[in-house]
């Protein structure tokens, strides 16, 4: 039997806000952060909308002064991770090298008992920076000349250029900032990355290799190249040029009219902690609290050759398998789940298999379980998706409040997924699902933690 693990800190960074308070408030109010893309002129793209971080987000504000120089080699994904980790650690009242204040005698845990498992995406190079160098390697006709690139062009790039874009740098910078010297991993499974990272952090703590882990995932696809690649996946909604639509209504999870998702940026870092260690820490700091216990986790793989695993099989077999195993591991029956934070990306090729999987796992009981999706609010976050969703579920269960549901006026048969406001509810257990391009799925069961 492995050790029990609780969630003690939440650090979401998304269009709704920076940190758990504004994010949760947005989820309760049912706000959507989706609007015309601000980062660049995206009017040529089939989906020119995005859910971007609030304009005043500055990653460097979250970096300790002694480490600010390093922000020069942080892609936006990395900055978001460092910010999310800072927010999560402070939310957990965890004392690390970075959060320690003058007078703090020591950190909450020794460095080698802290880990970091952080999901990441395929980080795109800054095109202005790279192309300024490529431009120095043109031949007489204006095309690219590899010989000139080797001799001159490449030397225009800053020596540390590569380090800005390695996906493991999210975790590496977080380990340096907070001085965590225990196990550290970087999981790169598109939209399942954060869910898988949280599952792995739970295993790391469960087996005794660490007492506390920073885990989750972050990604920004709001740049020319990432947006192009994601457009090719066919999951974004296509908007007719000149159409007058309210961007807040575009993403419609589990609605019969669902037609696609919208890119978002962000994700979250969560603090996971061994329950026994957390209780000791709480004895010394009565304000420390746990949001929920992670009572079940399972991962699975879709095999759907017809779309080369770009979408789940119509029955959602692997999604159902993961959910079943996670629920069984939690020692409960499906009808004891009171909230499902679904992947619900708003594309019918994802929503319908997910709905089929839920029907198969829950049977008729599914009609009595509230199903929420964050995608109409924050867009499709890539590697950060599951992290943000776990934050929403953890806060919902701690607060005993179901978040608002947007844009589902005509739900798929038998699902309690219709548009509606946030409301108080008795939430004993919540199920959080994620499904990535390529077919990796996660299911995580959170259990109410009674203090």
């Amino acid at each position: 039997m492995t050790r029990s693990v609780v969630i003690t800190g939440l650090g979401p960074v998304c269009g709704l806000g920076i940190g758990i308070e504004p994010t949760w408030q947005g989820a309760v109010e049912g706000r959507s952060a989706i609007g015309p893309c601000r980062a660049f002129d995206a009017s040529a793209y089939p989906c020119p909308f995005a859910a971007e971080l609030p304009e005043d987000f500055r990653g460097r504000d979250f970096v300790p002064r002694s480490y600010r120089k390093a922000t020069k080699i942080m892609a936006r994904d990395i900055e978001m991770a460092v910010a999310a980790a800072d927010l999560a650690a402070r939310d957990a009242r965890l004392t690390t090298r970075a959060t320690a204040e003058q007078g703090d005698a020591q950190t909450s845990y020794p460095p080698h008992r802290m880990g970091a498992q952080i999901g990441a995406g395929l980080i795109a190079a800054d095109l202005d920076e790279l192309t300024a160098a490529l431009d120095k390697a043109r031949d007489e006709r204006g095309g690219f000349d590899m010989k000139k690139w080797g001799a001159e062009g490449m030397h225009e790039l800053t020596p540390l250029w590569l380090l800005k874009y390695l996906p493991n740098m999210l975790a590496c910078h977080v380990t340096i900032v907070h001085d965590t010297q225990g196990p550290s991993n970087t999981i790169t499974c598109t939209e399942s990355s954060a869910g898988l990272s949280v599952g792995e952090a739970r295993r790391v703590i469960g087996r005794g290799a660490a007492e506390v882990c920073f885990c989750g995932g972050l990604e920004s696809r709001i740049n020319l190249m990432s947006l192009m690649r994601q457009t090719f996946t066919g999951r974004y909604i296509q908007v007719e040029p000149g159409a007058t639509t309210d961007p807040a209504t575009l993403v419609r999870p589990f609605d019969r009219q669902a037609a696609g998702s919208v890119p978002g940026e962000g994700g979250a870092i969560l603090i996971l902690e061994a329950e026994e260690a957390f209780k000791q820490r709480r004895d010394a700091d009565p304000e420390a609290r746990a949001y929920a216990r992670i009572s079940g986790f399972a991962a699975s793989q879709t095999v759907h050759p017809a779309t080369r695993n770009r979408t789940p099989d119509p029955e959602g077999l692997a999604i159902a398998a993961a959910a079943r195993r996670a629920i069984a591991q939690a020692g409960i029956t499906p009808d004891q789940i009171d909230l499902i934070v679904a992947f619900g990306c708003g594309h019918p090729d994802y929503d319908r298999p997910e709905a089929a999987a839920l029907h198969s796992v829950f049977g008729p009981a599914i009609g009595r379980i509230r199903i929420c999706s964050t995608k109409p609010m924050v867009g499709l976050l890539g590697a950060g998706a599951g992290g943000l969703d776990l934050c929403i579920a953890a806060r919902a269960i701690a607060q005993q409040k179901l978040p608002a549901v947007l844009n589902c006026d005509d739900p798929l048969d038998g699902l309690d997924a219709a548009t509606g406001p946030a409301r108080d509810a008795d939430i004993r257990n919540a199920l959080v699902l994620s499904t990535g391009l390529g077919g990796q799925n996660t299911a995580c069961v959170l259990q109410r933690f009674d203090h």
Partner: protein, 443 residues
């Protein structure tokens, strides 16, 4: 000191299949013989015109085609090199584990067949990418114009090629090829990725979440922007006049690593599952350790703090002490910094005995396979245990006085070999160690 994680009643995990695609060949036995013979797989970069690059050589996979390895090539058309390498390595491993036969008998539970890979990002489609960037370049404002860039990219980029660049695509293709529906992960901790994948796959099995795991990794960074990135970091050897001697770990005149490419796959399963199907057991995974340097993203901790912690944790996990280790497969990249720090960490852990434990680097022959380095080195450990012979470190003619361990210079060595320790360290400070043991231990 971390609490020992060793627990006698947890499931034991064994290696039952191995396969690789490397710069020295695409099958287990011939590559292994060439490694024991001390051959180098290094040659010129031919995939693009590197004639003006600071580094013009690499260790590349030659004459390789993934198609003969798969059941239905249509499922995999358009794959990029990482997936292509992984498919070949996995097919070898699958067959060597005898899983093809078990499968034919209907004896494999697909929901309990998992994957944990450490594969790199796919190779960028250089021509369309660079072409779009240049077409979009607005020299007046020193920026890429989004409208022009989009028009060029939309006209030149291929959807399949772009999607296949996601680092989890080898995972997705192996899942389809082997109908694997259990837990499925890809990690990318730079040069430590496939070691970490094997370690975490072991944990998935120990926890009872699967019976069999397909694990390992695949990577190439032998492409213009990959070489550019490492050249800018001055991490690569520039010994263009003598490529085959350029990878010279622990040599005083080493000047960087040599880029390699390829894949390795191992089949892990619970001992119970392997025994039930009478599988040939190649070795046992006895211990796994993972740590972070938490020092700098640009440098290793000079005293090898993270590597030391990973080794110690793996020993604790295995319930062993340093005295039990017979051989170390070192990370040994041939960079100034790695070889120093790793040597110091080994000396701190092994104390007086450090110089008596053979410790070699096959990167001297294969180059550095980045994400795939660890699994290929782990497979070499499995074969070393089988043949009671360890591979050499070649090109070590001029030892660095600060690197004073027994690196098994020049020639392979027969020895009594029960327990191996294998190290890999990722750029940025993620470190991993595996401990592999002969099975049965006394044979």
């Amino acid at each position: 000191m971390s609490p020992t994680m060793h627990s006698p009643d947890r499931p034991r995990i064994v290696v039952t299949g191995i396969g690789w695609v490397t710069p020295l060949g695409h099958a287990i036995e011939p590559v292994w013989q060439r490694l024991l013979a001390g051959e180098s797989g290094v040659g010129p970069i031919t995939r693009f015109d590197a004639s003006t690059f600071p580094t013009r050589f690499c260790a590349r996979v030659l004459d390789y085609d993934w198609r003969p390895y798969v059941r239905d090539a249509a499922l995999h058309e358009g794959v990029l090199p990482n997936t292509a390498f992984a498919l070949g390595a996995a097919a070898q491993a699958w067959q060597s584990a005898g899983l093809d036969r078990l499968d034919a008998d209907g004896g494999l539970d697909r929901d309990r067949l998992g994957l944990y890979l450490g594969c790199g990002e796919g190779v960028i489609d250089f021509d369309s990418y660079v072409g779009s960037n240049l077409a979009g370049w607005d020299a007046e404002h020193n920026r890429v114009d989004p409208q022009r860039w989009y028009a060029a990219a939309n006209a030149s980029m291929q959807p399949v090629t772009e999607i296949e660049q996601e680092a989890n695509m080898p995972l997705s293709h192996l899942a389809m090829e082997f109908d694997a529906r259990g837990p499925s992960y890809n990690c990318l901790t730079a040069c430590a990725a496939s070691t970490q994948a094997i370690g975490e796959a072991t944990e998935v099995l120990r926890l009872g979440d699967a019976d069999v795991m397909i694990t390992g990794g695949a990577h190439t960074m032998i492409h213009p922007l990959g070489v550019t990135g490492f050249n800018r970091l001055t991490a690569l050897s520039t010994r263009n006049e003598s490529p085959q001697t350029a990878s010279r770990p622990f040599s005083a005149d080493r000047d960087g690593f040599v880029l390699g490419e390829g894949a390795g796959i191992v089949i892990l399963e619970t001992l119970e599952h392997a025994q039930k199907r009478n599988a040939a057991i190649l070795a046992e995974v006895l211990g796994y350790g993972a740590s972070a340097d938490a020092y700098r993203v640009t440098d290793m901790h000079p005293e090898g703090r993270g590597p030391l912690a990973a080794m110690q944790q793996a020993l604790d996990d295995a319930g062993l002490s340093p005295a039990d280790i017979d051989y170390i497969s070192v990370h040994g990249t041939s960079t100034h910094e790695n070889d120093h720090a790793e040597t110091r960490a080994i000396k701190r852990l092994f104390g007086q005995r450090a110089a008596k434990v053979p410790a070699s680097s096959i990167k001297s022959m294969l180059g550095h396979l980045i994400a795939a380095a660890g699994v290929v080195e782990a497979i070499a450990c499995v074969l070393a245990i089988r043949d009671q012979t360890v591979p050499p470190t070649i090109n070590l003619h001029n030892p660095d006085p600060e690197c004073d361990l027994d690196y098994v210079p020049h020639t392979a060595r027969k020895m009594t070999l029960r327990t191996c320790l294998s190290n890999n360290y990722g750029f940025g400070g993620q470190n991993n160690t595996l401990i592999l043991r002969r099975y049965p231990p006394q044979s």
